[in-house]
């Protein structure tokens, strides 16, 4: 077994034992949906509003769940051991794959909640494009939170720092994904409308994964 899979397995085992990440994220999603539903009884929600709400829920859900990956390592004091056990790149790859998985689970549950609670207004008209933008967006959010939580994990004051530094960096991605989601909710053949957004998402994801892969070693080794 190569060592990045070991890191991934370790994180998955911790997650299954504590269910911290997923339950925090799902609670966050439920509360967001409940607040939206409470404040808009009987109102027709436009696709533009729904797509923005879904991405806001996903973004902040990611900030509560994904930020744990490195910060928890530092808090438990296990980061030194991890540094001895695995090379920088395998730690990065393991954490990245774990975060992408968590983020995709989060996106899937958000989709489920929205389908269930907003059944009247939330109609996906172009499923393939919808899923494409959702997964590309999820990968981007996971990549940025991985590198930035590693960055924050090295700092002594961690608490609220991650959303502050991650939110502006993720904005281009969230804007493009929101736009793409709105179009897939509006028209059934969305490719012409979402092409530009999908290209932005793909290039943003690739750029972020590559840059963080290169930079991770700099942060990781002491």
């Amino acid at each position: 077994m190569s060592s990045w899979q070991g890191v991934l397995r370790k994180d998955l085992a911790i997650e299954f034992r504590t269910r911290y990440g997923l339950s925090a994220v799902i609670m966050f999603l439920l509360i967001t949906v409940a607040v939206i539903l409470y404040s808009t009884p009987g109102e027709q929600l436009q696709p533009s509003i729904l797509s923005a709400l879904m991405w806001i829920a996903l973004f902040f859900g990611a900030m509560t769940g994904l930020s744990r990956s490195f910060i928890a390592e530092e808090e438990r004091g296990t980061s030194l051991l991890l540094r001895l056990y695995a090379s920088g790149e395998s730690v990065f790859l393991g954490k990245l794959v774990y975060n992408v998985g968590l983020m995709l689970t989060l996106a899937a549950s958000a989709l489920l909640f929205f389908e269930f609670f907003f059944a009247r207004d939330f109609h996906i008209r172009d499923w393939p494009m919808f899923l494409l933008q959702l997964s590309l967006g999820a990968i981007g959010v996971a990549a940025v939170s991985t590198i930035l939580s590693a960055l924050i994990g090295r700092a002594s004051q961690k608490g609220a720092l991650l959303p502050i530094v991650a939110l502006p960096v993720l904005m281009p991605l969230v804007i493009a994904a929101t736009d793409a989601m709105r179009i897939t909710l509006e028209v059934s053949n969305a490719w012409d409308g979402v092409r530009g957004d999908i290209l932005i998402l793909v290039s943003f994801d690739m750029a972020m994964v590559l840059v963080s892969y290169v930079l991770f070693d700099v942060i990781w080794r002491d």
Partner: protein, 325 residues
């Protein structure tokens, strides 16, 4: 650099900037006969400046025949006095012309003789506001260059581990933030008179707002870290590089594909491509305005380099002081 410490350089830069500001505000703006007609018909304004060459003047009908910048010929009702004192056949003039909707004639209000090289074209819908193109656009360009240089210095810091690169990266990004703020201010003044409000959440306004947030977060991160100087610099350098990955998306890509009030947005402009920012990467605007725009870019670039140099020296002195204590 030594250049930025010489008084002669600073005097030259200051004087050149003053001249540039004077040129930007005082150069006459002249449109065409079709501009004047269109603006009057749409009820935007009755009197429009037109840049044209006087071809002939008929003292009997008091009509002057002109050729404007699009090679259209137009007639303007002049007076003998205006012809005798202010104009001669073959002169390039900028004249204020009142277009009369009932009779479809152009009546002369005022006229000046100009240097044909020193006039700005009238951009539809902007008029006098077009002068801001010499401030707003160059400032945004210099902001991009500043962020690019900051990132290059951050990369150099990570490679060479020399603290001076970290100071330069910090200074470049700070100056970039300043120029972004200046571009935002000039832009929102422009928006106030062009679109009605200071802030419209147009895609480009959103982008520059996010850019301010990102580099604001960079400096905040730096001040919130309680680490050794070395670690602080390393974390900040990594964040600076990650932040720069978003800059091309925010400055170049997103505003081009989304519907925008700015020229060059996804919808395109009425009457062809936008003058400077468009998808085909070509520049369609008057030579003089374009050249003066590049002069502005050049001058602001030197202002940026000077500010960066000053701030780097301040940081060096601060570090020296903390070392001594």
């Amino acid at each position: 650099m030594k250049l930025f410490r010489s008084n002669i350089f600073l005097w030259c830069l200051g004087i050149a900037l003053a001249i540039q500001v004077y040129i930007a505000f005082e150069t006459p703006i002249g449109g065409s006969f079709s501009d004047a007609k269109m603006l009057a018909m749409n009820g935007v304004q009755d009197v429009t400046p037109i840049k044209a060459t006087l071809l002939s003047y008929d003292p009997v009908t008091k009509l002057g025949r002109f050729r404007d910048l699009y090679d259209d010929t137009g007639h303007v009702v002049m007076s003998d006095k205006a012809y005798a004192t202010k104009a001669a056949v073959g002169d390039v003039l900028v004249m204020s012309v009142a277009y009369d909707k009932q009779t479809a004639t152009n009546n002369l209000v005022d006229l000046i003789r100009v240097n044909p090289m020193m006039t700005f074209p009238m951009i539809q819908g902007l008029g006098e506001l077009g002068r801001n193109m010499l401030f707003h656009v160059p400032m945004s360009m210099v902001a991009f260059i500043a962020f690019l240089m900051g990132t290059i210095y951050s990369i150099l810091y990570l490679i060479k581990k020399d603290f001076d690169y970290d100071r330069r990266a910090r200074a470049s990004s700070a100056a970039g933030l300043l120029f972004t703020a200046l571009a935002t201010i000039t832009g929102s003044i422009w928006a106030r008179f062009s679109w009605g409000t200071f802030w419209n959440w147009d895609p480009r306004e959103t982008s520059i707002f996010i850019l301010l947030l990102i580099y604001g977060a960079y400096f905040m991160l730096r001040s919130l870290l309680e680490e050794s100087e070395d670690k602080k610099a390393r974390i900040a350098a990594v964040y600076n590089i990650i932040a720069f990955v978003t800059v091309p998306f925010l400055m170049f890509i997103l505003p081009r594909i989304t519907q925008s009030l700015h020229p060059g947005g996804g919808g395109g402009m009425a009457g062809g491509e936008a003058p400077i920012i468009n998808l085909s990467g070509k520049v369609h605007t008057d030579r003089t305005l374009l050249n003066m725009h590049w002069v502005s870019v050049f001058l602001f670039l030197f202002v940026f380099l000077w500010l960066k140099d000053v701030y780097t020296r301040i940081l060096r002195l601060q570090d020296k002081q903390t070392e001594e204590n």
